[in-house]
Amino acid sequence: MTTTAGDRVHSVRAEVIAAAAAGDYRHLVFLAPEIAAAARPGQFVALAVGGDTSGLLLRRSFSIHRVDPGTGTVEIVVADAGPGTRWITRLVAGEAVEVLGPLGVPFPVPDEPTPCVLLGGGYGSAPMFWLAKVLQDKGCHVDLVLGAATQDRLFGADLADRVPLTVTTDDGSAGITGRVTDPLSDLLRTSGATLAYACGPMPMLRAVTQVCRPLGVSAYVAVEESMACGIGVCMTCVLPVVGADGVTRMSRSCVEGPTFDGARVRWEAIADGRVAVPGDCLGSPASLAALNHAAAQGSSR
């Protein structure tokens, strides 16, 4: 399992090749051969929005749905969530857009065939089909669970032709009524999976981790934190993650993530749209106060 954190990031002006509705989402295909050649599942791209006269400076991030290194195309799935995404959903074929990528650490893929369960919530399904394919190519058995609030916000149920698929919706408009995590324990048991991958809203990722952990299943989750730069220079996209050394750090989800081992994420610090700094985090105000206190004690002795 390797990462690409040190690899080249490409900044390109990409032509939109196709743009079409997909339920409540917009499915966009653009030409970015450098990105298509380098990207792996779990990585994302960042698009500039609003064109030349834009008052929106920050880029918007999107999981890569899939790439085709042969044709040089990159695909994303976009929900209209605000002014930036609205601008993107109005792009039509022939227009150009500034794209940065591939960004972030991809999902780690096992070297040996391993049974896996993949879970996608809403547009979080987008990268799962490509990931499924990569895993299957490695000989892994893959089960896929897609969930959403409603059928219209379910992405890609039609794309899962080669993967056993379970669908859930909150309102029962498609598949099983309930959460995407509901069928997870049963699936893990029946498939004997030891690996899970999830992409979707934070509460879902937390729930996936909570189901997997007691069963000894590793859960890799792709988080979605508000990002200003996407390339690791601004420090806005952090969340508390426990390192290999057991120390919690505020880690940048754009370069150290967006994929993390769910067991290492300090979920209890994340609530209600906010992330607090755990008291034992490296360099937290609490830990610095303790440090200074200890230093003072030391010097007074």
Partner: protein, 318 residues
């Protein structure tokens, strides 16, 4: 005609071009180096570093605003010792010219950070100048930002100056959130700063109207981006005018605030800046430090202006 883009920061510090990164908008170099060679940037200004490792604040740490953004990072960073051990050698290894930004919660901490930096084995080879970020809160003075108070500003400089060889100029970085920025400029220069960097962010707040609470975890944030450029130009203009009038000591100014294009860089230069930093624009276009330098060169070329340095403050003559 070849255009000479050399920027003169005083005390013999000449940069091959006047476009720098802004502290905190480019981390410590590795990340941006994935896009292009940071040794080609006029100088690389590092994220303000304090003595100890810093976790920074909780999130949300940013809010997008019209043509700008608010940030409330809380100076997350490795601390000066890890910086000296890991970041400085890396900057040296790629041949970058660094301007190291230092910060502290007390004036003594500033001095301590400066001392550790100057003692670093890579200091002479890599550090062209030091930026003293006095636009951060002074814990001893009710958290009031140093650069909001002439006495606190001077005190930081007075303690840092003896730690640093005179051949490494000290630039005091000022906040625009004051009634008269020339008063702070004078205090910093009289206390030994050899230059000024202007401006840091403006204090701002964003309310989350859905949740009916402040959007940022840290309540207030710093406003940056093209939105604030007219304020940066004004601050540079006022201080440069005060220098010309002999009201405050003369020293080079590094301009920063809302620069996105070569023309923006030219604007700050004409107002009085000897070099220009690119900050928030990097988030929009990570290649902007290189692009802005190129655009600036092209502009000068198109207008038949052979030397960048001749343009510093020129708008005061017209």
């Amino acid at each position: 005609m070849t255009v000479d883009l050399t920027a003169d920061l005083g005390h013999g510090v000449l940069l091959p071009n006047p476009v720098l990164t802004a502290s905190g908008c480019a981390a410590n170099g590795k990340e941006l180096h994935r896009l292009d060679d940071i040794a080609k940037i006029g100088a690389f200004v590092t994220k303000s570093v304090k003595r100890d490792p810093q976790s920074g604040r909780g999130t949300p740490r940013m809010a997008e605003t019209p043509s700008g953004m608010l940030n409330s990072i809380g100076l997350q960073g490795p601390g000066i010792h890890a910086f000296v051990e890991h970041d400085l050698p890396w900057l040296r290894s790629v041949g970058a010219r660094a301007i190291v930004s230092i910060a502290g919660e007390s004036s003594a901490e500033f001095a301590e950070v400066a001392r550790a930096l100057v003692a670093a084995p890579d200091f002479d080879a890599t550090v062209a100048a030091i930026e003293v970020n006095i636009s951060c809160p002074n814990v001893a003075n009710r958290g009031l930002v140093y650069a909001c108070d002439p006495a606190s500003s001077a005190e930081v400089l007075r303690l840092v100056v003896p730690e640093v060889p005179r051949s490494t100029p000290l630039f005091a970085k000022l906040t625009p959130d004051v009634t008269d920025i020339t008063v702070i400029a004078e205090a910093a220069l009289s206390a030994g700063a050899q230059g000024l960097t202007m401006i840091n962010t403006l204090l701002g707040i964003r309310i989350d109207t859905e949740r009916m609470r402040p959007h940022l975890f840290g309540l207030t944030g710093g406003l940056s981006g093209p939105a604030i450029r007219p304020v940066a130009v004004r601050a540079i203009w006022q201080v440069y005018a005060a220098m010309r009038a002999g009201r405050i000591p003369t020293a080079p100014i590094i301009g920063v605030g809302g620069v996105r294009t070569g023309e923006d860089a030219l604007e700050l230069t004409l107002a009085g800046a000897s070099a220009v930093q690119v900050g928030t624009a990097i988030f929009n276009d990570p290649l902007s430090p290189w692009r802005v330098a190129r655009e600036l060169g092209d502009l000068l070329h198109a207008r038949g202006i052979p030397r960048y340095d001749d343009l510093v403050g020129v708008a005061h003559d017209h």
